[in-house]
């Protein structure tokens, strides 16, 4: 399912410019959307799901114009959406909550709905807790319910906003594998500020910075942006006041720093996607301190 945004802008009340002239094409497969907190990722996700409308520009998904009610409805029928701030009804069980969302997604056949809910509870590894009230679920378990509800209608377009936040490492890996598998035959948009999630699941990515699209290309190309800009330094003294420290590890009574900087303060190191992202952020004078590995 092809997704196009053409010069999309959105300003919220209080004149907060959340997105500015964002033009993005996703022909299919999985696309990682990176950006610091406040970069406009969630606003873009909400525009793509039809929850909000752009002030200007055009969004078409699978040939449907999101400016029209019919277009939004057609897209929402094939959409799976996991919002960043997912809430649940604490007085329902996991199974009941999924059943409710399934009904709203048009899964009218009772037997199919029950089977699908059961399959997804298994898939996200909470089948044992399916009949417990959501009030008693941990944050990670609720997140898994969120993932399950996004998949209920076997969506052609899957939009997931910070899907792995709150998941333990094992679940994160499991979910990333699942996302890659799902992307084999649908369009997946993975919005995150966790660079590692994109590095492990996507070959294509886009980066938003202060509401603008500042990068669109492959993971490899973004990583290459840090070529010659990544340095490794072991010291127990002061860190050189250049660039951005992306890692600091204890090392034989000192600390090993990994630094992304335009000038050379120490020995070379092999760049990663995170380094590429930081180098890009430096070029665009963005705050990348909130980005985590």
């Amino acid at each position: 399912m092809r997704l196009d945004t053409v010069r999309v802008s959105k300003t919220f009340r209080g004149k907060v410019r959340a997105l500015e002239d964002v033009s993005l094409t996703v022909p299919g497969g999985i696309l990682g959307l990176l950006g610091a907190n406040g970069a406009g990722k969630t606003t873009l996700m909400r525009l793509l799901t039809g929850l909000i409308r752009p002030d200007s520009g055009r969004i078409t998904i699978g040939g449907h114009d999101m400016a029209t009610a019919d277009g939004r409805l057609a897209v929402q029928r094939v959409l799976g959406y996991l919002p960043q701030d997912l809430g649940v009804y604490p007085d329902l069980t996991g199974r009941q909550f999924l059943d409710y969302v399934a009904l709203l997604k048009g899964l009218d056949d009772r037997q199919y709905r029950r089977r699908r809910v059961g399959e997804l509870l298994e898939l996200v590894n909470i089948a044992d807790a399916g009949d417990r009230k959501l009030r008693g679920y941990s944050g990670g378990m609720r997140r898994r319910v969120g993932i399950a509800q996004a998949l209920l209608n076997d969506p052609e377009l899957l939009i997931v906003d910070e899907p792995t936040s709150g998941l333990d490492p094992e679940e994160r890996i499991r979910f990333r594998t699942l996302l890659s598998r799902l992307a084999e035959r649908r369009t997946v948009l993975l919005s995150t500020h966790i660079v590692d999630d994109v590095a492990q699941t996507c070959t294509e990515l886009a980066v938003l910075g202060r509401g603008r699209l500042i990068y669109r290309g492959t993971v490899g190309d973004l990583t290459a942006q840090a070529d010659g800009h990544v340095w490794s330094l072991v010291t127990s003294g002061q860190v050189p006041p250049v660039g951005t420290v992306v890692a600091a590890l204890p090392h034989d009574g000192a600390t090993r720093y990994r630094i992304v900087a335009a000038t050379r303060p120490a020995a070379d190191a092999e760049p990663t996607l995170e380094d590429g992202y930081v180098a890009l952020a430096q070029q665009h004078r963005l705050t990348a301190t909130e980005t985590t590995a």
Partner: protein, 267 residues
């Protein structure tokens, strides 16, 4: 199953599990039952002690408990719509293809139906008690009729106010205001010094339906020679039906406004 039916079903289920709806109905009913059994002079319930008419019992004796209900409805329904946003569920549900208006009406009717269950049980208990006590099965019929004509419209009005009000102000403040509104409606009289809708077609104590359909002596109807008399026509069947239509129309208009405001807030 449509979005309306799904939402109504789950809203009914969630609201029924809320202890507040049982407590908020049970407490005033407990007091009422206590006074009814003791027959205390101060409550005026004593005069029903020797009453044998099921109509009088189900309409007038139980009518001492009924004015409390809209306050209860307003208080327990106040969080139903705004809680979707507070819990963070609204965004998820809004992204489904389910029609928003259908979901709103389903939520409204599901929540109202659940809130009506404890009250319906109270009416049933009183009707059965009277039926056994006086051997008058007609108490069940009069209970059903009063519940449908008096309690349901008040519930629907309080419900729609509860969907709108908390979007405009904090929920606790709305609860105070809605309780005050219905208290004001219950205590002010036609010739009160305070401005009042008492005895009008818009009376929040349902004077016209009570007076016309149930011959209740507690209902005030007809011109009184005071302000707003244009809303106090002669008590006829047409006037009682008009009164019901106005209350239900007002509830529908308020619900529509609540839906429009909710959709705007989502943007």
């Amino acid at each position: 199953m449509t979005a309306f039916a799904a939402t109504a079903r789950y809203e009914l289920r969630m609201q029924l599990r809320k202890p507040a709806i049982w407590i908020a109905t049970g407490l005033p009913f407990g007091l009422y039952a206590l006074f009814a059994v003791l027959g205390s002079d101060s409550t005026g319930l004593q005069r029903y002690r020797y009453e044998t008419s099921p109509k009088v019992w189900m309409v007038d004796a139980l009518g001492w408990f009924t004015p409390v209900l809209p306050m209860v409805f307003g208080i327990v329904l106040a969080d139903r719509l705004v809680r979707d946003r507070k819990l963070g569920v609204a965004e998820l549900l809004d992204a489904t293809p389910a029609n928003r208006s259908a979901r709103l009406v389903g939520k409204y009717l599901g929540a109202c139906a659940a809130t009506a269950v404890p009250v319906a049980l109270v009416y049933l208990i009183v009707a059965v008690a009277f039926m056994v006590w006086r051997e008058q099965p007609a108490a069940l019929w009069w209970g059903l009729a009063t519940f449908t004509v008096v309690v349901v419209p008040l519930l629907l009005l309080a419900g729609s106010l509860s969907f709108l009000g908390p979007q405009l102000m904090p929920t606790p403040l709305f609860r105070v205001l809605v309780a005050s509104l219905f208290f004001w409606a219950a205590v002010t009289e036609v010739e009160s010094e305070f401005p009042s809708f008492a005895g009008t077609l818009l009376s929040l104590t349902m004077d016209y339906p009570l007076g016309v359909f149930f011959d209740s002596p507690n209902a005030t109807t007809g011109p009184a020679g005071v302000a707003l008399d244009f809303l106090r026509p002669q008590p006829t069947t047409g006037a009682a039906v008009l009164s019901l239509a106005l209350i239900l129309g007002l509830a529908a208009a308020i619900l529509w406004a609540a839906g429009a405001l909710n959709a705007r807030t989502s943007e």
